[in-house]
Subunit: 388 residues, 2 copies
Amino acid sequence: MAETSLIFPAQEYRRRIGALQAEMEQGGHDALILTSPADVFYVTGFLTRFWESPARPWFLLIPRAGDPVAVIPAIGADLMGRTWITDIRTWDAPDPVDDGVSLLAESLATMVPANGAIGLPMGLETHLRMPLGDYLRLADRLAPRRMTNATAVVQRVREIKSEAEIDKIRAICSIASDTFDNVHDFARGGEPLDRVFRAFQAMLLDHGADWVSYVAGGAGPGGYGDVISPADARPLASGDILMLDTGAVKDGYFCDFDRNYAIGPAPDDARRAHAALHAATEDALAQLRPGMLARDAHRILTEGLRKRGAQPGGGRLGHGLGLTLTEWPSFTPKDTTELRAGMVLTLEPGAEIAPGRILVHEENIVLRDSGPELLSRRAPADLPELPA
Amino acid sequence: MAETSLIFPAQEYRRRIGALQAEMEQGGHDALILTSPADVFYVTGFLTRFWESPARPWFLLIPRAGDPVAVIPAIGADLMGRTWITDIRTWDAPDPVDDGVSLLAESLATMVPANGAIGLPMGLETHLRMPLGDYLRLADRLAPRRMTNATAVVQRVREIKSEAEIDKIRAICSIASDTFDNVHDFARGGEPLDRVFRAFQAMLLDHGADWVSYVAGGAGPGGYGDVISPADARPLASGDILMLDTGAVKDGYFCDFDRNYAIGPAPDDARRAHAALHAATEDALAQLRPGMLARDAHRILTEGLRKRGAQPGGGRLGHGLGLTLTEWPSFTPKDTTELRAGMVLTLEPGAEIAPGRILVHEENIVLRDSGPELLSRRAPADLPELPA
């Protein structure tokens, strides 16, 4: 297992640490505390589904210069020891009296001068994956050191994917594309939606996904109601539009896109909405460039829908993608994040056909200097039909 | 979909709210903020895999008396509207300027007097699923109201499962048991471990799991090294011990247990270790009673191993189970949580056969007044053999 637990060569992680340290310098942070599965994986290659257990916190410390320090539960020492990280400090977790706080405080006190700043991601789209009470105790123990907002440090670095990362996302997109091309194997009129969801996940695994962290979708006459509900047991019926959406994972990297299917002949309004979504996505594929802002992508997609007579759905129309199902930025009218070459993004326009009846269409891209390069296999312009 | 999104009748949720409010009264909390998927699901029935996206926070507020209030992203209004919750307040998330903080602060300011206490889970095994910066802003805006530690409120109520919940856990345990009984369909000598992991997940889905949130395991000559690593592509070989462990999910409830298999004839020391693990588990099944402490379970399992000549592995030897893969308490020497009837627990003794070579054995139970009732189908006493 020694080699596989690295995912990438050590130099890839060293490059990432260097980039984070450059941003830390810029932001005035003397150390960085990372606690989330994606952030820890990003700098170490430590990949495990064990994060599913909320019992134990895990800490990865990055000093302003030099190598990172892992402060982790003893149960993870073996796996972390097979990554490129060499300074690994452990405690027996869970410990109801002191669940790593003292070890973490000591490690940081040595790393950061008393007048120093300790950065953590604490902004939009971040969570602190440790008990809040322990964080407050830690901040107290480390005073007069300040706890500072290092959201930008992590986001500026993680949002630009290396070619090695892009290859990983392309691989899982290809697995999902193969699966979407074979939905006719398990979805047709009469088949209950919950069985379709199960078979969809099984086929993703069969095509090579390591695991399937996200499946959503919907089905209803001429469109579906929302895109986050679990599946019920209602059988698919003629005239339904079925949507399947997945965040499957390979080597720790996600895809996130969906496909729509008509059960039998599609109602005209659904066919028109699908064509408008496809065409608006073509606009974005043609026009998006580095230097634009996230809100420009929203504008392009919204205008693309309107000029084809479709009513844009609410919410964001795309987002970042990579180590989690969704990453910043968000394609909303309010997000002014600059789009840069190397960002992996989703284009996700939605159209409202009637109240409570929507269609959502999604592709995954990497933004190049010359514009978007597709990572998902492009959806057909015409809504495909499954047997009723 | 209207009915299925509830999972349980509304009265089950009303009972839970009542129990939480009784504990809030006891702890002096005037309101409770819940942010985690499990806590929100517990009181509402709001079940979605959309939590996989870290982009948006979700809030469920429980006043000291009266019905809960959901403060959530607009994208969830439809699904939350199909639960028993009627007071649903939404904002357009993600919003880089104010991601629900004002709406949340206003809702809490009305609910809690200026000298009041607002409780949140902030202790062991909890995470605050919102940006830390937003939490600090919220606490500022709500002052002089105090933010208080309500970990015990949630844990005291959630740790006792209703019969309806036990039925759900029994159902997913049965699905996993059926799958473990058919591992010979996909695991044998020559088969790479990563393909075994994929086929295992697909079979869990085929047997009726809604999704598979956790799969771990290991394989190695006469035992495995750790239990949290992802699978590599090494083919299973004669003399290997294969372990598969899963947290599969049905209707929002988890199982969490494993099974061991020998590839061809098992080495004697592995067979002896398996028999010792099985016998130590029998001791716990016979002896555990309400009123004992979590550390007593650790002692029973440890002594059970020692008296059969096995070396107990480190770490905890079992834990709570239900809405997440692992819940409190922990079977460690330090955990003094009282075991109570209605707790669903795992018994998870591990034995070290040689340095770097362990065996772990796990069952799921519900603790009754008369002792443990198995929810997983009991593992065979003799290590089962798969074709080499």
